[in-house]
């Protein structure tokens, strides 16, 4: 919360934590100072389940550059699997 930059997304799916698999209902995406990554600032993604509580958390801290790479990889996979209609919002229309 040093930056206050957080975007939350409702998600459906499953995540695997120390206690095994559990359903996910939220992804919290922050731009902030990481706990562990050797980077001054990072994209921090927490996959959460509100009902289960704080321990239901799968966390990643990515350097800004690698977060962009991940975004492109996700969109590329979606595009290949579900068609060309899937693209990032900031991509210009074809």
């Amino acid at each position: 919360m040093c930056t206050g930059i957080v975007e939350n997304a409702k998600v459906s799916g499953s995540g695997k934590g120390p206690d095994g698999w559990y359903p996910l209902d939220q992804a919290s995406v922050s731009y902030d100072h990481p706990d562990h990554a050797q980077s001054g600032r990072a994209i921090i993604i927490d996959f959460l389940n509100e009902a289960v509580g704080p321990k239901a958390r799968i966390a990643v801290e990515l350097t800004p550059e690698s977060a962009r790479n991940l975004v492109h990889a996700i969109l590329a996979s979606l595009s290949r699997g579900e068609g060309e209609g899937v693209r990032a919002k900031d991509e210009p229309p074809q």
Binding site: M1, S39, L48
Partner: protein
Amino acid sequence: MKNIKIRRLSKEKLNKPALHRPQASIESMHKYRTDMYEGMIAETVVVRGHGGTNINAYFARPLGPGPFPGVVLIHHAPGWDEWYRETTRKFAHHGYLAVSPNIYYPFGQGAPEDVAAKVRAAGGVPDDDVVGDIAESLSYLKSLPQSNGKAGLFGTCSGGRQVFLVACRTKGFDAAVDCWGGRVVMSKQELTAKYPVAPIDYTKDLSCPLLGLFGEEDQFPTPQQVEQHEQELKKYGKTYEFHMYPKAGHGFFYYDRAAYRQEQAVDGWNKLFAFFEKYLGTTD
């Protein structure tokens, strides 16, 4: 401190900040001798929080009847974690009754970083709740028979911001230390129901002397925001010291993170203890 120079902003014009070498050495801050008795007790306690709720806190104090000054620590965004427990004990080691309330308590219990993630996703702790929690911890400290009647406030990161906020919105603290608190300066777009007022807008109400420690490479707050804050403090004639460290960014005290900067951290701790000793007194 051989290689870094620090801008002491409060003594010079903003456009021509002074460069000076720190004067205090780490040795001068430790008054202990090898033949002295030393002891402390540190434990989890329950204190009152905002709205009459109970929250947990970590409390460390020197052994003995005192009187001792007090310090309330406001933990940082990564949570009520080991670093804050260690820092609470550090204050006790230096002769302070030190209490670190868990301002994330209402969000549930678990590993500190997991609770912090939940708070982050929720958009943080409302400012009003933090002010209430810290005011209660201040009352707790001052109610102790070992108290000398004075109390300081310390916080880093989001806790640094909250230090300034609390020092403006409550009375009873005698000194406050804001370490690299971001979002003291906030744009209108950043204001939310939880953060309805930018802390800088409370500056006229600052109720005690303020020490600020910042890193020149920090982006939250930027050096420009720190200067803006200082302008406001000057405008209202407040007592303060700001120090801007070169070659340091956000969180340069944190020995367990990449942000750690040894020379700047040692100097910062020296300045902090000198500041508290000046305004809170010790029993040494």
